[in-house]
């Protein structure tokens, strides 16, 4: 079978969809108060550096996934177990996304539907697309990139047209708040959502335009960062810092306030759709990353065989990991601060440093 190939625009679309994923809907960087949009932008340079590190590692080992070059760089004895430890992190993060989507859907309109039904439908869709392969997935992402951008533009236009924006909620940014923004940017926003791009290290081996990888990734990152910053600024300006920090899904609350000429007033559907699509793509990429690392580690030729187990694990852990949504969020903070940085930042930087050192001192055989 020929190798599946992904073009530059497909990678671009996938990164943007992945970045927007849940970050568009859930509140991020709460500590920074009303300067959350600033925090998102402040975290961008760090995100770019991380992405360039991933890009560098990819260019050094264009045919290998992260687990492959971990073994090359750190040696088999250290690389293999370390790579194995990444898999549960990815699976757990995927299941967190699923949990968040399920909870939003239940709180929005499915109060009588059991969460297991909602989550398993999503998992079935994810498994279906993973069976189809990464190429089909990339093409689907292209189409949904266009769909999400159009929906986003409509929502933003309508929110502004409805006259809900109060710029007082965004400005002024006082010097102390700059510091707060910086604190929430590093490391929180840097890791979620930017650092999560580490998943793409498993997709990059299929990328065809090797030389363009940095350009595409950085462009996608900048665009998604601007979109995220704009959206959160919009939400903040409509809701104010007080409500913004207390609602579970600020975007959803924002859109329900829209009323243009008593005609355009219920655009909740767009928010729900954005979330569904975002979570779908983010989860699929997490599952794909988990599948491909596992396949690489255990030398499984037919990756399709891993799709079902991965899907089931994600589905089960999505509702057994926390008893309710507040507990889920509390877990999230710990996870974000203690565990997620390891695969997203620590391991890539470690790989980068070790690889440079080994190159420098000619330690590769």
């Amino acid at each position: 079978m020929r190798k599946e190939a992904i073009g530059p625009f497909q990678l671009f679309a996938m990164i943007v969809l992945f970045e927007l994923g849940t970050a568009l809907v859930v509140p991020i960087g709460l500590e920074s108060g009303h300067a959350v949009w600033l925090a998102i932008l402040l975290a961008l340079p760090g995100g770019i550096i991380l992405v360039l590190i991933y890009g560098y590692l990819y260019k050094q080992f264009p045919d290998l996934t992260i687990s492959g070059y971990m073994r090359r760089i750190l040696g088999r004895a250290a690389g293999w177990p370390l790579a194995l430890l990444i898999v549960p992190v990815f699976l757990y993060n995927g299941s967190r996304n699923l949990r968040e989507a399920g909870d939003l859907l239940i709180s929005a309109s499915y109060d009588k539907t059991p969460v297991i039904i909602i989550n398993s439908i999503m998992v079935i869709a994810v498994m279906y697309i993973l069976y189809m392969g990464i190429e089909v997935f990339a093409r689907t992402a292209e189409i949904y990139f266009i769909v999400v951008v159009i929906m986003g533009l409509i929502c933003a236009f309508v929110v502004i047209a409805a006259g809900l924006v109060k710029l007082d909620n965004l400005f002024p940014v006082l010097p102390g708040q700059w510091l707060e923004a910086l604190q929430s940017a590093y490391p929180n926003i840097l890791i979620f959502p930017y650092g999560e791009l580490v998943c793409f290290t498993t997709i990059l081996p299929h990328f065809t335009a090797k030389r363009k990888v940095n350009g595409v990734a950085v462009a996608a990152l900048v665009l998604s960062s601007l979109m995220l910053g704009f959206t959160h600024a919009l939400e903040m300006s409509v809701l104010g810092p007080d409500i913004y920090s207390r609602t579970t899904f600020p975007m959803f609350t924002t859109i329900t306030l829209v009323n243009v000429a008593n005609f355009i007033q219920r655009l909740d559907a767009f928010v729900i759709l954005t979330l569904i699509f975002g979570v779908f793509f983010k989860m699929s990429i997490y599952c794909y990353a988990a599948v491909s690392i596992t396949a690489d580690l255990f030398r499984i030729k037919d990756t399709h065989r891993l799709v079902l187990p991965v899907g089931v694990v994600v589905l089960l852990s999505s509702f057994v990991s926390a008893e309710d949504y507040p507990a889920h969020m509390a877990d999230g903070i710990v996870f974000l601060e203690k565990i997620l940085p390891i695969p997203c930042a620590v391991i890539p930087i470690l790989l980068y440093v070790v690889h440079r050192l080994r190159l420098r001192f000619k330690l590769y055989r």
């Binding site: 073009g7 625009f9 499915y110 729900i272």
Partner: protein, 515 residues
């Protein structure tokens, strides 16, 4: 990719006399032919005797599928004997007479020599006239096919306001001529082959040499050669045998009865298949957007065409998701409907005894019945369908308290929207898929619709038509090809051909600096 083989052996006795050579005795051969054709009354056997030596000669043809004038001309041409002049031996032995006839007949160009019974039968059945000479184990055949066929008429299924009124007919020769008349280029290459073990249907593959991708042409050629079916009665047979994704509801071959559409597609580097006996030509590779375009898009002004294309896509989305969204909104997302409208809808549904989903299903089902009846009904009583249809799908149904007026509007809108899809087979697929999406909408609301929609798009992205991704040029995204997908830019700027057919001569018109 393996082509499905026909499971059963050929019916009839197609293989029996495969290598049986012709008998030298005229009587034997004629008798063999007659018995193989089951003493068919339409087999005509004319007996002649040569002028010299009175060697028996027979001319065989089948009555209704030959042109009498051509038969007469062929026989005359072969049998006419001119005195060779002084010093030249006059042919007298059967061998000499036969070779004399052969020389004369073959000089007209379309004749061939037959040596075994099976090819003789095949020639007869495709309308040729066969000449047999007593004492010779060979036969001469001349192309005399003709007989009644339908005249070229207006396209019935792909109507356009502007553009050629000609449509293909059932005759392969006529159809080829219709395309040739539009593309007077030596690069329009044709390849003829015969498919169907029993039906022996002629088929022509047409492509523009240098524009069509060589690999694709070869690929298609191999696939066509691998077809092993006993009957090919319509291009639909070929279509189904060629499809790469058999379990997909989406068509991956485009069919058209318009020669201008075939010409346009050939010029974009696609390949056309014309099959004898059907006015529907096949075009491949066919991507999703090919099914959304009509030839008229290129005849009208670009801005109008663009608007109409966008309209068509919106209609496609409505006809796919319309009833599902309505059912989902009423069942799950009442908060999404503005309150006055919601109250209105609720009061309309007051007397309706069924759940929304059942109501929608019933109405959609009724609509499909009316549509099917409209197609199958003899045209003189076609009026009845519209009258009765108006009753079951209209005010009467509402007054009877079976459905709500809003549902009638939704279902009618969906129906009208589905008629805007230019390709009938695509509209059919959408029709079928609509029910699935309605189920999803009824059970999981908008979420179900979104997930099913995602899976549907993923499925469409996984399809390929002769190697070309189905959703191209949107996915994979090809910026240069966006000129002719949703937007149709002015012809003046449409300088390059679509990239995905991988043709070499990209330019349609000279660039600005070339003129």
């Amino acid at each position: 990719m393996p082509i499905r083989k026909a499971a059963n052996k050929p019916e009839g006795n197609g293989d029996r006399g495969k290598q049986s050579p012709l008998s030298a005795a005229l009587e034997d051969t004629v008798e063999q032919v007659r018995s193989r054709l089951g003493n068919s009354p339409d087999l005509v056997i004319r007996n002649y005797k040569s002028i010299i030596n009175e060697v028996p000669i027979a001319a065989l043809y089948i009555n209704a599928i030959t042109d009498k004038n051509l038969v007469d001309a062929f026989v005359e041409q072969a049998m006419a004997f001119e005195f060779p002049g002084e010093g030249v031996a006059i042919p007298s032995a059967p061998e000499d007479i036969y070779s004399y006839m052969k020389d004369k007949a073959v000089s007209t160009g379309k004749e061939k020599v037959i040596e075994d019974l099976n090819s003789l039968l095949e020639a007869l059945l495709s309308g040729d006239t066969v000449l047999l000479v007593d004492g010779i184990a060979e036969a001469l055949s001349g192309m005399t096919s003709g007989g009644e066929s339908r005249a070229i008429s207006e396209a019935a299924t792909q109507v356009s306001i502007r553009g050629s009124k000609e449509a293909f007919t059932e005759g392969l020769g006529t159809n080829i001529a219709l395309v040739r008349r539009r593309i007077k280029s030596p690069d329009l290459w044709l390849e003829t082959m015969t498919v169907g073990r029993v039906t022996r249907t002629d088929m022509t593959m047409m492509y523009m040499h240098g524009l069509a991708d060589e690999g694709a042409v070869q690929n298609l050629r191999d696939k066509l050669k691998a077809i092993d079916a006993d009957s090919i009665l319509e291009s639909g047979y070929i279509e189904q045998l060629l499809e790469e994704n058999r379990f997909s509801p989406f068509p991956t071959l485009y069919n058209t009865e318009r020669p201008d559409s075939v010409a346009g597609n050939l010029l974009e580097g696609r390949i056309a298949l014309l099959i004898d006996g059907t006015p529907f030509a096949l075009i491949l590779p066919a991507t999703f957007f090919v099914f959304m375009h009509t030839v008229e898009d290129y005849y009208q002004r670009y801005d109008i065409s663009t608007m109409i294309r966008v309209l068509r896509l919106i209609c496609l989305v409505i006809s796919l998701f319309g009833p599902a969204i309505f059912v989902a909104a009423l069942n799950f997302h009442q908060e999404m409907i503005p309150t006055p409208l919601l109250i209105n809808l609720a009061s309309q549904r007051e007397g309706v005894p069924f759940p929304t989903f059942i109501e929608a299903l019933m109405m959609e089902f009724t609509f499909e019945i009316i549509r099917e009846a409209g197609i199958r009904m003899p045209s003189p009583i076609g009026q009845t369908v519209s009258i009765i249809g108006g009753l079951v799908l209209g005010q009467a149904a509402v007054q009877a308290g079976i459905v709500s007026p809003a549902m009638v509007i939704v279902v009618s809108l969906t129906g009208i929207c589905s008629f805007t899809t230019p390709a009938f087979n695509m509209a059919l697929s959408i029709r079928v898929l609509r029910f699935g999406i309605m189920f999803a909408g009824a059970f999981m609301g908008l979420y179900g619709i979104a997930i099913v929609g995602l899976m549907l798009v993923a499925h469409m992205c996984s399809l390929r038509s002769l190697g070309v991704p189905y959703m191209s040029p949107i996915a994979p995204f090809a910026p240069g090809d966006q000129k002719d997908v949703l937007v149709r830019i002015p012809l003046h700027f449409m300088k390059t051909r679509p990239r995905l057919t991988r043709n070499k001569q990209g330019k349609r018109q000279p660039g600005p600096d070339a003129s």
